[in-house]
Amino acid sequence: MAQPGTLSPSVGVSVRLLTAVALVLLVVPHLVVVITSFDPTSAALFPPTGFSLRWYINALERRAFREALALSVVVATTASAIAVSAGTLASILVVRHQFIGRRVLITALQLPMMLPEVVLGLGFLILFTTWRMHVSVVNILLAHAVITMPYAVRVITANLQTVSPSIEEAAHVLGAGPLVTLFRITLPVIKPGIIAAAIFSFVVSFDNFTVTAFLVTSRGTLPIEIYSYIRTEGDPTIAAISTLLILASLTGVIATVRFVGFERITGTEGSA
């Protein structure tokens, strides 16, 4: 038997090999996109035939993309704000209180993450049509708030579970009512979880395509614009946008890890 924490040589080799394959599969598509974005021809060739920034300029100069980006940012920000606020309260309710229907609520909160997005998108479309809600932006916003909520709840719940309820009780005994305890104790203590939840929700909303596609009537979010562009044009403008998005994501991830720590985000931390 191998010692715990060490691997026998044969297992070690195959584990390393699998890890390498997985990493290659994860990284290579991104690299291809990044490299293609610098190709000067409109054929999006790989390997590229030269070096040019013209597709970056094209991407930044197109009004449709700029508007789509602005819309995406607005929707993602608002949706994650809603998801995080509601998610925080829901997490506190579910983690700190016992009540009839608690388990049902926990499942319901995770449901949007489990359901196929096509089903969700169709559901929202039928619902909004029935209610005669025709403002595309509002519909997308509401849908995104629902989609991102499970992620917010997950992260905040994980954080809250590491916090001993006795600190809230201690605040009560010292004279703090429920609201003071919430704002002075609970929320500050789970701040890392709240920030991580906000980032997660933002990314999930920003990336969303399927559900959004059902609800777009006029202006689309960035993923929708990218898709409609690629249907008519074959040039590497999309690769350029993608590269910029990869850059933004990387910056965000690094900032998050620096700021709150990886364990807090993934909820793998043992205790507070």
Partner: protein, 374 residues
Amino acid sequence: MIPAQTGLAARGHVQLKRVSVGYGGHRVVNEVSLDMPSGEFICLLGPSGCGKTTLLRAVAGLVLIEEGSIMIDGVETRGLPAHQRGIAMVFQDLALFPHMTVYENIAFGLRLKHLDRRAIDAEISSILMLLHLKELRDRLPRQLSGGQQQRVAIARSLVVRPSVLLLDEPFAALDRKLREELRREIRALQRRLGITVVFVTHDQEEALTLSDRVAVMNAGRLEQIGSSDEIYERPVSRFVMNFVGSTNFLSVADVERYDKETRCKLTGQLVILSTTKTPEKHQDRQYELAIRPERIRILDEVSPPTANRISGIIRDVTYEGASVIYEVELADKQRLLIRQQNTGEQQQPGRTQLGKSVVLGWAVEDAIIFAAAK
């Protein structure tokens, strides 16, 4: 320094009347009545799951009571939330606010009282001094040692000048030396401030050394309440005798009660005890003689005569330093433990004593008879 409470009538009188607490049909605390006068240091002692912590949390207002009443200084607390009870509590895990410095932790309760900044500063300075925390005021809890965190938790509770301080096994996680030091400190603080302290512990030594009175709990009920020596010397039940201190329980036969003394047979030999320490005799009951290991002496030729004598064989010897524990087997194979002070006068304890025949002796008052555990 914080002055002792003067002027107003003494505060901190806690009265529990037939208090019951239950979770989902199961009674965790069952009809406990307890009157704790102002300024008393009382320990709730019992095994884990006996309801002592739940009872403490009921006093704090953190759990609702099903029946009975809890009065603090004559005020019925039913419906009064925890933050309006004017008491303080030190939690088992201390519950320091992790995002606040030592100063902010201690200031939390004072700020809620809307004291001005100067007054808060003054109060905190004096409590920091009192608990030797002055150098640590700007540290976060995670930067403190266990003992320091403990002091911060106590300071945070005392600074709001509670009439009652509740402590839930606060020293359980500390090493022995630190625990003893903090016990002395909390006792001294309590005397100085004149507050009522309710201290939950499962450590009988802690309970006996700290408290004015000990309340022994078992399975949700109050088993006995009394001073440390009452609990130790005159336990009212087999449970208390067994839980507090160590005890030999020996089966006895032919129990006969007389006015002054009670006679019974242990391995066929006559044993005499004081009748005040014998339960009323019931039919069909097995009885047990209970006697503490330190009350039994191993007799030698020069020992003064004792009321009870019984012979046995040494089967085991454990050297503890200050004392030596002998395990002695009686003629009917029952075994008992004897604790002898290591005065240096006895024969050197050791394996050579194994198998040696000895005569054990104890006085009439040293043993108690209980109905046997079923």
